[in-house]
């Protein structure tokens, strides 16, 4: 890449020399030193911004870390986390090793796998964060596992998602409880259900969910995809989708771009049933006038996929100390409880609430008065995420099959 710019190539080492002095990576085991270094830093947090409630919560976090730690947190709004991954990569291409733009990134799954495989991440740091112990990873392995990959301290958990279905109870009396029933329901109610267009992550999760339900070889899904016969394992899935698509919204010729767009289709009455990755979303949307009051949520009998989402720090962040302090704040009972508040965002905590002290535990009492809210205990049936390579393989196969026909 630098060949056409010989002069530039000569300049770059000089640029690097001037900036290396700045960035002796902070050591998270000396937390006081990290706090000291973080003071006055500006942390650029690249985070998906497709949801106003999420953005508002990040705003709140920015106010709190400014107050408590004198850190200026800027939410860099991205439409797709991959954009941030691309940016870090572009910086690595340009030999920018210690003055990157991205300080913190909201991440999980395939994006994490990519960044880790390309050595784009700083770490390990997560397990040294003071509040990390509250997650009790020994009892909750999902906080240190991201789509089957061990996180090894390269990302810090901050929230939990699980596929939750919701429907308009004025129209649907008994929602389908398994994947076959869903097909039958769709046949009986054509045009009233859909899923987000692949490669959207909520839509891709629907594929994985269906595949888990349809295949007998569940074990193969938790190993890299090239270790098994992809075509054979996924054949029932394609058969199922081929049967389902003609009965979907727009006869499966078009799909909403994202989960939130699916929600707005529910609000407009175009759909009678949908699903989300944020269990509290339907209840929150009723409060926001987006969904009708007759909305109800449920988790089908066999359970649904769930995962934890994380924050990670790129290898070339110039404000690693600040980024770590923010990651730690996100794990504090205060931040976790605020996040779980239905009026704020409704994203579930990653802390092991049962093992918190009494005062902190009190913060997490759920308001179950909203009828659109999931019944207590509904989220017990969590299916673990397959290996990230399955996501990519399923996305490619779906696109090859359904695009341009």
């Amino acid at each position: 890449m630098r060949a056409p710019f010989p002069r530039l190539a000569a300049l770059l080492p000089a640029l690097l020399l001037t900036s290396t002095g700045l960035a002796a990576a902070p050591d998270p085991s000396d937390w006081e030193a990290v706090l000291d270094e973080a003071r006055g830093q500006t942390v650029y947090w690249y985070a998906w911004a497709g949801e106003q409630r999420t953005n508002d919560y990040i705003d709140w976090v920015a106010g709190r870390v400014e107050e408590q730690f004198d850190i200026e947190l800027t939410h860099v709004k991205v439409g797709d986390t991959a954009e941030a991954v691309s940016r870090v990569l572009a910086e690595k291409q340009a030999d920018n090793h210690d003055d990157g733009n991205v300080d913190l990134i909201w991440i999980n799954g395939e994006n994490f796998a990519t960044m880790k495989a390309n050595d784009l991440l700083f770490g390990p740091f997560a397990e040294a964060l003071p509040n990390f112990a509250l997650t009790h990873p020994e009892h909750n392995p999902e906080v240190v596992t991201d789509f089957t990959l061990p996180t090894e301290g390269y990302e810090s958990p901050w929230g939990r998602a699980q596929i939750t279905f919701y429907y308009d109870s004025d129209e649907v009396a008994a929602p389908p409880q398994d994947i076959q029933a869903l097909l039958e329901w769709a046949e009986a109610n054509p045009g009233r259900f859909t899923y987000p267009r692949i490669p959207d992550f909520t839509g891709s999760t629907f594929l994985k969910q269906a595949l888990i339900a349809l295949t007998d070889e569940d074990d193969a899904l938790y190993a890299p995809v090239d270790e098994s016969d992809f075509a054979a394992i996924t054949a029932p899935l394609w058969e199922y989708l081929d049967a389902l698509h003609p009965h979907l919204w727009r006869s499966g010729r078009q799909f909403p771009a994202t989960g939130p767009e699916m929600r707005s289709l529910m609000g407009d009455g175009e759909l009678a049933m949908a699903f989300t990755f944020t269990p509290s979303e339907p209840a929150a949307a009723v409060a926001d006038f987006e969904l009708p009051p007759s909305t109800r949520s449920y988790v089908p009998q066999d359970g649904t996929l769930g995962n934890v989402h994380f924050v990670a720090i790129p290898f070339n962040s110039p404000h690693k100390a600040g980024a770590m302090v923010v990651a730690d704040f996100l794990l504090s009972p205060e931040a976790q409880a605020h996040k779980q508040d239905l009026a704020v965002w409704g994203d579930r905590t990653v802390l092991d609430v049962a093992r918190l002290d009494d005062d902190s535990r009190a913060l997490f009492t759920l308001d179950e008065s909203n009828p659109a809210m999931l019944p207590a205990g509904a989220l017990q049936q969590t299916l673990p995420e397959p290996h990230p390579s399955w996501m990519t393989a399923l996305q490619d196969a779906w696109q090859a099959r359904y695009i341009g026909n």
């Binding site: 991959a82 691309s86 771009a257």
Partner: protein, 560 residues
Amino acid sequence: MMLRLAPVLLVALLVAPILAGLGMALLPAFGYLPALGGDSLSLAPWRALFAEPGIWRSATISLASGLLATAISLAVVLLYLAAATGSRLDRWIRRLVSPLLSIPHAAAAFGLAFLIAPSGLVARLASPGLTGWERPPDLLIVQDPWGLSLIAGLVIKEIPFLLLMSLAALPQLDPERRVAMARSLGYRPTLAWWKVVAPSLYPLIRLPVYAVIAYASSVVDVAMILGPTLPPTLAVSILGWFSDPDLDKRFLASAGAILQLGVTATALAIWWGLERLVARLMGGWIARGGRRRGETGLHVAGKLWILLATVIAFFGIAGLAIHSVAGFWRFPDALPGSFTAAHWARVLPSLAGPVASTALIALCATLLAMVLALAALENEQRTGRHPSRALWLLYLPLIVPQIAFLFGLAVVMEQLGTRPTLALVAFGHLLFVLPYVFLSLSEAYRRFDPRWSRLALTLGASCNGAFWRVRLPMLLAPILTALAVGLAVSIGQYLPTQLLGGGRVTTVTTEAVSLAAGGNRRVIGVWALVQACLPLAGFILAVGLPRLLWSRRRGMQGAP
């Protein structure tokens, strides 16, 4: 001296970044990107590109929507101009169309989507009374696979642009006298316009037409909102590949960028061929000498289509406004069941930052563009030379698709070690603002009666004095209009802001488009309205300020 450098500076400033950006797309397109392990030239990216599902369909839709959107917009504009008689309706249309130019593409696209969707405003107004629909019909209207709604969205936005460009060019043709002459030979007025004005008008607006073709065949934000999805248009696909976490897709994306360049070039070539064909057909039609046949049809079409497009655009914006204050709004209610200020209250606190950076970037880019454009035009006047041929290159940023060179440019900037700042984004906007400012201003500047400056000089004023005391104040109205156009162009920019700003620089447009992913119509309504209002403020100022300043100078009203 500085003035003499202006045209050179102008061209260098525009051409260098585009060439650098294209270069940085061309190398990876042939497999050369050492940072990703591509250190030899190969055709693998192209093989991968052509193996992408639906790639040919993507390219075809980009090509077809570019050509069709341009052809329809041009036809509507010419039909209107031919049928316009200066009636009250005509003046009313003209007055309505100008503010439409200022509405950013994304906002107009949202407005259209909210209007024509099966659960949109039109279906709500007609249901259940006329249609019997109790639920939104399961019809594929928005994002249809043929790109029809995309074309409609583009047409709505390109009509005002082409109309304004035509109105600027028309006076030098003296159309009234031409039509009067033809009428005295027995031609009906609309036919007369088509036969004696249109053939001379087209060469004057050819460049803006080419810009529309290039834009329409490679647009990103409108295609994301209204375009087909399975597969999307080529430009949208490319954007996806560039931001794919699978970094090998970068090669594919670069090849796609070059393909986009080819698609746009093909569209331009096809158009060029069509120009020849139409010129021949028109020639035959004019030579046959028909004086009456088709008059009524042409006349009615001239009023109808532009009216339809304008009304749709305004209803779209009205729809945005209603959504931004809507409580729960069940289909088929024509109006929301309740109204609430909650959406505005929620967005307002986070509005200040993006609005401020939008305004700052727009002002910097536009003022700089204005200084450069004025310097180049003034230099032209003083040296008495004809516009330099190189100034053609000014339009390069309008002809080369953004998606083809902006990613490469972002990499170049990265290589140069520049950090994404407001200044860098403003520079990126300058690429697109400058041609529009120049385009809007040059006609008025070149047509400005040279005797005024000569008079000033013979009265002893210096060249600079003549510029500051005569030319500038007398051209205030077109200068302000050009400024307003520049501001509107800058405010509407999505891709340059996103790529050169590294996502760190947020403007109302990047906010609106990133929130679009959320699909919350109420929040989108708020942001799209804000996005539409900002440039509108510029236009109101551009129209109002001269009227205020020259309220006691009749000779300055509506001149020059």
